[in-house]
Symmetry: C2
Subunit: 259 residues, 2 copies
DNA sequence: TGAGATTTCCTATATTGTGGGAATATGGAG
DNA sequence: CTCCATATTCCCACAATATAGGAAATCTCA
């Protein structure tokens, strides 16, 4: 099928994961043939993979309709991941930042070409926890790119840069320049590049290797985050990010001395 | 290796899922050899599966220590699963039940031989969201067994019934009798069977096929949930469960008329 | 610096996943 | 109620893919 630059020797597993990934864009339930269509796999293969995922609890099949939905293992391990990262401990910090800045606060992590919001300041399902945002058109994404480990900082690997508004950066060269600017400034700005009338400022949460683990954003309107106050917002966000750096690095990692 | 009663034709996928499952019992990070040991797979195989999971974002590998942790796709799809089930809409109902009863409220779903708490009334990581509890020693579990679909109600399939306290039901026959009692009464009781001094009452959240989708529990001390007030607690829990039944059945499922 | 453990890569083998196709079940329309 | 279209599930021969052994590279700790 694809020539697929991946040198991995695990077709079945990657296909199974792409079955799970269908639920990112699809509705809450998908039929076996939906899965086959979306993954471009044969009906038999999609069906067999789905059954394997059901047997391990990552999918669930409705007894009546035979449609699939994400299963209990997914929720369980998702929560576990949340706790194992220590994210349940950062809520107070984020709340404080939100109050100090009167802005909405998001904490995100990179997942391939997307930023996934781990803790969303909004309960709005359209911009809340679990949401995927593109890297090129968000402040979170620019931060995740600017401090990415070598090899994952390739703008070309993002594919076509889809415009969200007329301000969205769509030229890879422009994006590289923007990323360079972000790295120098220490924060990223998204001024209506993903949606109109929204201005977001993001900073990295770094580990000791100076690589980004999470991105932290404060989001509001241009009337609140004015040009002259950007420095002030950056300072507050940076302070919160530093607090998170302390909270989010596990004891095990912390014992590793750097110099 | 195992004779493995599963008639499925997907070894690689199931093995990959068992790699993910390692993180349920293990620490927040596991090394490649940890994974090989726990899954009883050869080093090469465990390593290759782990890499495939990393490439799809379900695992993450620390650049420094080369250890693995659960990845962003896990958190993302976990949250997605949460929302797609409509669970973000039930918080008010659960809060109301908690206030009315002055008890802790848990909502759980079955995952194989365990109950997974989807919304835990406690922020305590030891008894909060994402926790796995055994089916035989919890009120949640008894409910999930009592209304299980045919074929999944087999007590024998649970394996050995491990005692948690001296009150834990360990004889399969006793458990079957208890399940029968639960079904008749409409609620399950756990009186110190999983931990001392804790009494829990659980009721099912049923779909129209009279099969259990979720289990809802109120948990407190025997001084609060006294013998004489059990009926009162059951009534309140049952009322809340009915409200959840309305909330949690998707519109798609709802349009299916039953009689 | 050296011993031991761990991560990672490579390759031959056959076990395992693959997809065509047929049988069965489901739901909608007339 | 019956028929038709669509979707789900099962079966089987083929060969592509995952497997495990071993060796090299890297890291850890003394």
């Amino acid at each position: 099928m694809e020539k697929s630059g991946s040198p991995s020797g695990t077709q079945a597993v990657q296909r199974a994961m792409s079955v799970l990934a269908c639920f990112r864009d699809g509705g809450p339930t998908l039929s076996a043939s939906d899965l086959a269509r979306r993954t471009r796999l044969s009906t038999s293969t999609a069906h067999r993979l789905a059954r394997a995922l059901v047997s391990t609890g990552f999918l669930e099949q409705d007894a009546r309709t035979a449609r699939y939905r994400l299963g209990p293992s997914m929720t369980e391990l998702g929560q576990l991941s949340f706790h194992q990262r220590g994210l349940h401990r950062v809520a107070p910090e984020l709340g404080q930042l939100a109050r100090a800045t009167s802005a909405t606060v998001d904490l995100a992590i990179r997942n391939g070409p997307h930023a996934v919001i781990l803790i969303g300041g909004s309960v709005d399902p359209e911009s809340g926890t679990g949401l995927r945002r593109p890297l090129h058109s968000t402040a979170l994404g620019k931060v995740l790119l600017a401090w990415a480990p070598p090899g994952e900082d390739d703008v070309a690997a993002l594919g076509p840069l889809r415009p969200q508004t007329e301000r969205t950066i769509v030229d890879p060269e422009d994006l590289r320049a923007e990323i360079e600017r972000v790295r120098k400034a220490g924060y990223a700005l998204n001024d209506g590049e993903s949606s109109h009338g929204v201005r977001t400022l993001a900073v990295p949460v770094l580990d000791r290797a100076e690589q980004v683990r999470y991105a932290l954003a404060v989001r509001s309107t241009p009337e609140v985050i004015t040009d002259t106050r950007i420095g002030w917002f950056a300072m507050h966000a940076r302070a919160c990010a530093r607090a998170l750096e302390v909270l989010l690095l596990s004891p095990e990692e912390r014992r590793i001395t750097d110099f």
